[in-house]
Amino acid sequence: MSGAVGRPVDRVDGHAKVTGGARYTAEIALPGLAYAAIVGAGVPSGRVVTIDAAPARAASGVLAVLTHENLPKVAARPRLLPSLLGAPAPGQSFFPMQDEVVHYFGQPVAVVVAESHEQAQYAASLVEVAYARTPSVTTIDEGRGGAYEAERLFGGLMPGREERGDAETALAEAEVRLDLSYRFAANNHNTLEPPATTAVWEEGRLTLYDSTMGIRASQLTVAQLLGLPLSDVRVVTHFVGGGFGAKAMTWPHVTLAAMAARHVGRPVRLALTRPQTYTSHGHREEQEHELSLGATRDGRVTALRHHKLSITSPFDDWAEPATGVSSQLYACDHYQGVHRLIRGNTMTPTFTRGPGETVGVFVLETAMDELAHELGIDPVELRLRNRAATDPRGNPWSSDGLADCLRLGAERFGWHGRDPGTRARRDGDWLIGTGMAAAAYPVAFFMPAQRARARVYEDGGAVVQAGTQEFGTGMLTVATQVAADALGLPMEAVRFEAGDTDLPNTSAAVGSAGSGMVSAAVHAAATALRDQLVALAVADRGSPLYGADPAAVNVREGRMLLRDRPETGEAYGELMRRNRLADAEATGSWSPPPLDTPHGLLTFGAQFAEVAVDPELGLVRVRRMLGVFAPGRVLNPKLARSQLTGGMLWGLGQALLEGNRMDPRHGRWGAANLGEYLVAVNADVPEITAEFVEVADDVVPLGIKGVGEIGQVGAAAAIANAVFHATGRRIRELPLAAELVMDPPGTPA
């Protein structure tokens, strides 16, 4: 019988999720629970002149109203660092309600705590706040004059500029040159579960139930903000209703919940309302890109200059890094990537699925489509011609697969024989077009050591633990598969437990790194435990395996067997009972390769899409999508496909529907609910296929490169390229709204 890894097994938490038994954070029932509601600032900039909390305090059921006047000061202001790093990870370096200054609309100015949810929400509406408003900047257009080049990004982790060769000169000398400008509306994650935190204090120790992609990040951040020892802060999460980056960092409401609970001396639940999610954690920022591309007439890219301009908060230099792929995907000696920023009155933007690169790749891959069209070269062939055999430093890729993804995708999609002419296919009112894009996403390795623990009981059952969390990626399932195989047990005998900082420490599961790093730690722990038990057996005179070479012992279905003579062996339980062991336990850890590992680190893929465009009405409907990906080892193809197709459909939303704009007069989002911020519904979604190209990789953990982001990267570009093919109209703006897509009056059919 083959192992569990690599098989399309059902989710281990499937039963809990389909029965309603899975408990999410706002569903934790606690005796004496009180409910908190945030009052958000009604202006984007200025200061609070007065807060009249008396009507709220007088409302029925109200326990407390906290404002900057009575909220204790935080103990520290941790630096903004990505949660993967394993350090405190506030979403922004600013913490609210420390003084009267307002930096962004929706910034918490009061927190109301009451006996019931209804009472808290209503009392929050009774808090009267008077503001002295000052001028605000919330759009690129308003702040363009004050743009500056970012020296460092990601809390200082990454340079804002990347340069090699001489892009200016190479562009000036290029046989073909494209100078293209792009605009992108902001995006909001809209996890279906709004973030929530429940805080409980017992004898000075804090337990937080938090809807987070990183319990460890919540623990570290809240401990530092409140000046608590880490051992006094425990963070628990059972199920998380979607992450997508929204819950990758620890935003102020988490700590505010803890402060509110301490103030009223009772457990407090703080669940954000849907509109508050738009102003309680970051977003994908409004941005503009400029791409200049130089090439030879035979389609060799010679120079790329990729500049991004985006708007950040008053406190942090944050831009999604958008040039990690455009600087590496194609062999090109002359490259310049620059991030420029505008300080505005918004929260600090944050990771949003496929952070940075999903936009950067849109720019690169629609530009490549323009180049292909201009030169009359097939778009797939153009990618193959330019693909980089090594990273820009000359290091080999840890694993590649791009060419195979492109070729297999073209074959499966039926790309060959495509008429490159635009407006060439019609179906009734619809013009039909096809498009493709290459996809790549960086593999991130800046996490600390990841740890896990494995325990086998004498009855043959196992519990494996790691302080990670389940937010839809299938972490509980794949970790169970990995543990079962490493222990030589059937999956049913293994329970994987997560979601508690008292368990062995892992980092936030972000940047597509989660399944790889946690699986590697689980694998290490389970392997250590198996080795420990095998070592015990071969040293035990009572064991049939006594004296055997441990390397000659296999474990299957909980039995340790001689590889050559499988009839010789015994079960874990027999060994343990004989040795009076109720259980056996081991820990394991995995550390990433050094940051200067001599390898290029990208995950590759290829995206194909067919669209129907109603050119009169500007409507775009996607008819089919195909993605081919090379994410290294696939632990569970069923779950990996779900995540990849989910990412591709995020690309569909990004291309066609998703966009938010600030009203600069009021300094707030135009859309702050799911009726106006449009995400794809069932009827928008075509049948969709994700395929794999197998690549072996011995640099990344267990050969796993991750599937969280790569599905989205390039999908929007493939759709936009298909829209061009259908209509002949090149739109360098997302989303592709009807008014952009519809033919201008007088367009010939």
Binding site: S60, G618, L657, R665, H666, L678, A680, A683, A738
Partner: protein
Amino acid sequence: MRPLAYARVSTVEEAVETVTAAPGSAFLAGGTTEVDLIRLGIARPGLLVDINDLPLTGVEDLPGGGLLIGALARMSDVARAPEVAGRYPGVSRALLLGASQQLRNMASMGGNLCQRVRCAYFRDGLSPCNKREPGTGCSALDGLNRGHAILGTSEHCIATHPSDVAVALAAFDAVVRTSGPGGARRIPIDDFYLLPGDTPERENPLAHGELITAIELPPAGIARRSIYLKFRDRESYEFALVSVCAALSVRDGIVAEARLALGGVGTKPWRARHAEARLTGAPATAESYAAAAAAELAGAAVRRHNAFKVELARRAIVRGLTLAARGGAR
């Protein structure tokens, strides 16, 4: 949500009396607009009078082939009622293209007629809004107004009327029956919806305590081949950028009778009478349809982000009339 008192009533008379007697009260039917707006703090009744037990759920024949639709009939039930789907397919289709099945199962026909606008400035409870707080100004005029109306606007309000079915009802001269403190009355649907003008806070002529009891659909043979097309960014579960209810009666290539109403572009469900007048007696050709569309849209007033809707509506009208002339099959 603000505190609420609640009463359940079992007759129309009791409903009318109860609401009339309590100044801060409102009827509660499906609740899909009312509960949402109370939670947002936009609607502020102190007492909700639950009318869901009233016997107003039927769909009945009227003499001559018309229909009487009970005010508490649910959208989903009306949509699939054979009389409606057979005699007024445009009405049925408009119902099915509105909201989601869950909302259609909840929302009553009377409540649908009374639904409030989806303008974000109206709903946010913060922005100046003449509809919410008369005299404070209209934030949409110079704000984010992509979804806003181009027909029937005023300098005080440009919010789009959100209903789909009301558009189809407008096309077929529906009449709203009410019962109120002053007795019963019948209000033609065109009079039921008020243009914003100087009083955008007033959307219909209902008096406090006046209850919609039924909707009459007069006999209209032309409606049997009516169509309803809805165009929007998302394929489903979204309000219209533009929608068209159309029915044409064509004899010997000449339009004998035309019905046309528009959604998504007007401050009220927009009966396109200029276009109908232009169509009647004209050849049933794309040119006539385009001329009719142009006539209707001549009065369009656009703002910064919604200017595209004029061209979009023009094309949608031509599309709708072309389809209607072919007999309505999709």
